[in-house]
Subunit: 213 residues, 2 copies
DNA sequence: GGCAAGGGTGAGCGAGCGCTTAGCGACCTC
DNA sequence: GAGGTCGCTAAGCGCTCGCTCACCCTTGCC
């Protein structure tokens, strides 16, 4: 299930699209710093320092500190949406597709916790226009999950009295992994993904929820 | 289920213990500001302004800005722990106690979203000693929930292969309510609490999970 | 009335912030 | 080898930050 973008350490590196090299190094440094201390507590001097550059170098590649966060947030959300779409629009029953979606979404939040933290928790640090764009992406994320659940209800595989509320809860459960997951903890992203897929199948009342590991 | 501390607006006001009055007004202003913009993005001038005071007034009642966050975080965690303890150590079957714990815990996160946001998401803004103290409280919170689940497994009411992982997931689900809950949204804290209690009973494989609203 | 005590204010300190500007060296073109 | 371009740096601007300090007003006690 792991893609070519994953390193041995498990951290996803989907930043190949960012060029030139110096801009990518700055963006990576910003992701680390934002994840560790939060957007507002991070200084441009810190970002530039982590990238091995002077503070002024940042402004050659990015207009403002906020543009850095915006770029990170957009790329991250697009990646998350892509992961969910792949699972949601794949073949298989709604049960299989929901399990696939949850486990891969959770793996992304755990394995790429650094990025996921920035993506999920620094939304409010964006300005109004940037936030509006990101909110649009989040609605698409929501729609993908709701789509699978609706499919399962239609086929009779799921028993879900409140589709909207349950969709919200499922996504919420996955997203919060980025808050508590610890790389040095006892569980791998894969283990959390499997555990959560099973829990979510139970939440939607899937017929064979118990039969999965 | 609502306590005397709840106002008509649904926002909990457990700050009666903070005296004198000026100190409480400052703390309340800080809770609002931290919840809206985050600890690091909030200025002491903003806090004092919301409380109708000059910037210097803050330092009569609190040594630093961080002490404000520490006090808020401790009081909030103690309140959350008290809510969970009341449900966990009440009478009734594990199923009833778990449903009670989840619904009241969720109600607190939704209804007192302002406070809950600060309590749950600004932990990393505390210094090492203050954070260590709060982490201790969080472990007690975790233990209460795990205790109920273990009871349910023992009586055979629950079917939980991974007690620690499921405990983590249940708490995570409840806590994340503080991130997304919207006071102007379509659902009341009570509705979310009931919905989540039902979902959690399904997660632990409770026998009568489906029979609850 | 005298006066200490405590809650409050206006002004401002030193530091660090996001960001700008002038200029430098490596490289390409001809 | 002269000149232009690009990526980058050293220095620093204007501003706001957390926090302090000298002073003031109200209150209660004798």
């Amino acid at each position: 299930m792991s893609t070519a973008e994953e390193t041995a350490g498990g951290e996803v590196q989907p930043w190949a699209e960012v060029t030139p090299d110096a801009a990518r190094r700055l963006l990576l440094a910003a992701v680390e710093a934002f994840a560790e201390r939060g957007y507002h507590a991070t200084t441009t001097r810190d970002i530039a320092g982590r990238a091995g550059m002077s503070p002024a170098a940042l402004y050659i590649h990015y207009k403002t500190k906020e543009e850095l966060l915006h770029r990170i947030s957009r790329i991250g959300h697009e990646k998350a949406l892509h992961i969910l779409r792949t699972a949601a629009r794949g073949e298989g029953s709604p049960t299989e597709r929901l399990a696939d979606a949850v486990s891969s979404f959770v793996r992304w939040h755990a394995g790429g916790r650094t990025t996921a933290r920035v993506v999920q928790y620094e939304l409010d640090s964006l300005g109004p226009e940037a936030r509006a764009e990101i909110v649009g992406l989040r609605k698409q994320v929501n729609a993908e999950v709701r789509g699978i659940i609706e499919d399962g209800v239609r086929t009779g595989e799921f028993d879900v009295p409140d589709v909207h509320g349950t969709t919200l809860a499922v996504l919420s459960l996955c997203i919060d992994v980025a808050r508590w997951f610890n790389v040095n903890g006892p569980r791998t992203p894969e283990e959390i993904g499997d555990l959560y897929a099973g829990l979510v199948l139970r939440m939607v009342g899937a017929k064979d929820a118990g039969s999965r590991s």
